[in-house]
């Protein structure tokens, strides 16, 4: 139940953020500081999410998982080769599963 509340609240918040942009006075965009900060936030957050999820261990600890890291390596390779989004994801999962099957 708490999870549902969190989902509904987050969904409402996400919508309001989108709507605020479409409806806001345009000169907000002309503020270069706001624009630079807002452009940079996703960079920092996405990188943080990659790091935390890639190295997630038990509870709050960090852990190295060779198979998972190998999967991320496969994803990097696919990105360098300009593979489409879904191919990148499948490559990561497949490489991880393969390495794990090999006992890594």
């Amino acid at each position: 139940m708490t999870l549902w509340i969190a989902l509904v609240a987050t969904a409402a918040g996400c919508y309001l953020l989108k709507y605020a942009g479409l409806a806001a006075p345009r000169r907000l965009l002309d503020n270069p500081w706001l624009r630079r900060f807002a452009t940079a936030v996703p960079l920092a957050l996405l990188a943080a999410l990659i790091a935390v999820e890639a190295l997630r261990g038990e509870g709050q600890s960090l852990a190295w998982d060779t198979a998972r890291m190998g999967g991320l390596g496969a994803a990097v390779l696919a990105l360098v080769l300009k593979a489409p989004f879904l191919v990148v994801i499948v490559a990561a999962a497949a490489a991880t599963a393969g390495l794990r099957a090999l006992g890594l």
Binding site: T2, L3, A6, L7, V8, T10, A11, G13, C14, L17, K18, Y19, A20, G21, L22, A23, A24, R26, L29, W33, R35, R36, F37, A38, T39, A40, V41, P42, L43, A44, L45, L46, A47, A48, L49, I50, A51, V52, E53, Q60, L62, D65, A67, R68, G71, L72, A75, V76, L79, P84, F85, L86, V88, I89, A92, A93, T96, A97, G98, R100
Partner: protein, 254 residues
């Protein structure tokens, strides 16, 4: 939607705006498979997964919230992280407002569709009419695919007993990587610095703070964007785009 009125189906389908929109809509929408998978692996029900895809409808935020749930973290921190990531859609909306020029109910509906991909496709169009067509088409195709594939991924994963054996734990970070990649490639050294600082901060804080909070903390790395050379609007930098080489901001990080 509105843009598609006076209308021969063939010329509609042949326009570049529509071709691009459909291609991106189908390709990206299919990634709902990955979301449904990640959501159920994190312990959400298929109904909750589909609810998120339908109403939140912004991939990075959805994955972020689900990641916090998977880690047993605080829902408040998870929601805050999702909203912070969703805040870039506000910026997209600011840019799209002029291009689309919609008001009232149409604008309220369009707002739901403001995400990375619809913005990219729409801003690439040469005029308002094709921008509207591109937005509406991408939104419709991507949105419906995203919801349907979320359901498929969720139901399929419910039947998978061992998440690890299928490598599904690598799906989350791989998705964030794919979302981050283009930003790193176009942004130069400063973007790498911001990303590195964000990752370092989050890792350093992970053992100390509840799950979800370290990622929030990482947002402060975005302050690096305000430091350094091209920060001053009055400077005559119009000719030279932000080729942000790092050394000016001495923030090499953990």
């Amino acid at each position: 939607m509105g843009a598609v009125k006076s209308f021969s189906l063939r010329s509609y389908l042949r326009s570049a705006a529509v071709r691009d929109s459909m291609g991106i809509g189908v390709a990206v929408g299919a990634a709902g498979l990955a979301f449904g998978t990640a959501a159920v692996a994190a312990g959400l029900s298929p109904a909750q997964s589909v609810f998120m895809s339908l109403f939140m409808f912004t991939g990075a935020s959805q994955f972020a919230l689900v990641g916090v749930v998977a880690g047993g973290g605080s829902l408040v921190a998870g929601a805050a992280g999702a909203l912070l990531l969703g805040a870039r859609n506000t910026l997209y909306g600011l840019r799209l407002a002029d291009v689309l020029g919609w008001r009232g109910a149409r604008r309220a509906l369009a707002a739901h569709g403001v995400i990375d991909e619809t913005t990219a496709v729409t801003l690439a169009q040469p005029d308002r009419e094709s921008a509207r067509t591109a937005f509406a088409t991408t939104y419709a195709v991507l949105g419906s695919f995203w919801v349907v594939t979320t359901l498929v991924g969720a139901l399929a994963t419910e039947r998978v007993s061992d998440i690890g054996a299928f490598g599904l734990d690598a799906v989350g970070p791989a998705i964030f990587l794919a979302l981050l990649w283009p930003r790193l490639r176009e942004g130069g050294g400063r973007n790498w610095l911001i990303a590195g600082a964000g990752a370092g901060l989050a890792l350093a804080a992970t053992p100390l703070l509840p799950a979800g909070v370290p990622v929030l903390l990482a947002a402060s790395a975005a302050l690096i964007a305000l430091a350094g050379p091209s920060a001053d609007p009055p400077a005559p930098t119009a000719a030279e785009p932000a080729s942000g080489s790092g050394p000016a901001s001495g923030e090499a990080r953990p």
